[in-house]
Symmetry: C2
Subunit: 206 residues, 2 copies
């Protein structure tokens, strides 16, 4: 039974990545997952909207874990962003430029019309911002700046998915990774200079 | 007659900003524009897809002109980006967080399913990148770097619209404007240093 539920979520995720929320019908989901429409309603009594909440929650966790895994493997805090965008570029190219993430499309389609979906997308984005913030703070960026940089990171992920898919080019992803890494390097350097112990120098850098 | 065509485009633009491409029906467009469905087909024989191409083309030009106008009024090249995002933040707040731009949502919904819409969105994005590139080159950024920064600008616009609408907050827009401005300042400074005439110093900065 759990297998069927998972299969429905996986199939719906892929359909949303190709056609968005309104462009995907329950009969397409039934066909792609091999589950009857009755079975879909059994697992998701709220229908397509409830199923979309489950897809957003699942994708939100998967992407957070992906970022955390890339971040912990990176040689330095700024490299994590270059590596994340390089990975996204590879996924995009391998999949013939279908969307790596269903959440941004759904969020834009329904932010003003479905409060449950807006809240689910907001939770996913906030969890990515939190992961980015923790990574940056651990790397030496002051918390408030880390929060803002992490929000720019999440915006940039979603924005480069739009541009890269539309251009059918991974260049926007590569450029974004490089510039984010540059911003992170600069934030870390500035924080290190401004918090240098007094014993190592008498002049403040600010 | 031209009035009816314009009225259809304006009404469709607003419906797309609220509900996306697949979430908007011809009967909603008819109702919102006061034009019959027959009249919509008279002006757009290709139906909703052809109408969407017209909406994308129109919005693409309007946004390009908006950026050029903000850029030419800015005190310095980097300020243009702060001002652009501040303007977008004001529009978003005044409109109760409906999407400032219909193009990104449509692009994500149909990039793999409608080649005419993908091409129209691509032309719009490329024209914004071109406007950004020209502005940056005029401000002293080398052409290749200007092209990449301009692509990051367009990605960031689209990405912050996703995040700001989902969070119902203008903070991501404000942060993005500030960081883009920082990247632009840095690119201008580095270009100026690396192209300093030899007579003003004997050491290269690179």
């Amino acid at each position: 039974m759990a297998d069927t539920r998972d299969r429905i979520i996986v199939a719906t995720n892929e359909l949303f990545r190709r056609g968005g929320y309104h462009g995907t019908s329950l009969s397409q989901i039934s066909e792609a997952s091999g589950a009857t429409i009755g079975s879909i309603y059994h697992f998701f009594p709220g229908g397509k909207e409830a199923l979309a909440v489950a897809v957003i929650d699942t994708t939100g966790s998967v992407y957070r874990q992906l970022f955390e895994s890339i971040a912990s493997d990176a040689n330095d805090p700024a490299d994590a962003f270059i590596n994340f965008f390089a990975g996204a570029a590879a996924v995009l190219e391998e999949s013939d430029f279908i969307d790596p993430c269903p959440i941004g499309t759904i969020a834009r389609e329904v932010a003003n019309t479905s409060e449950p979906l807006r809240v689910a997308a907001n939770n996913a984005f906030n969890s990515w911002i939190e992961a980015g913030r923790e990574h940056l703070v651990a790397g030496g960026v002051p918390p408030e700046e880390a929060e803002q940089l992490a929000a720019v990171f999440v915006s940039t992920v979603e924005g480069t998915f739009v541009l890269s898919r539309t251009q059918r080019s991974t260049l926007p992803l590569v450029a974004a990774g490089r510039y984010l890494s540059e911003l992170v390097c600069r934030a870390i350097t500035e924080a290190a200079l401004s918090h240098r112990p007094a014993a190592t120098g008498t002049r403040s850098t600010r």
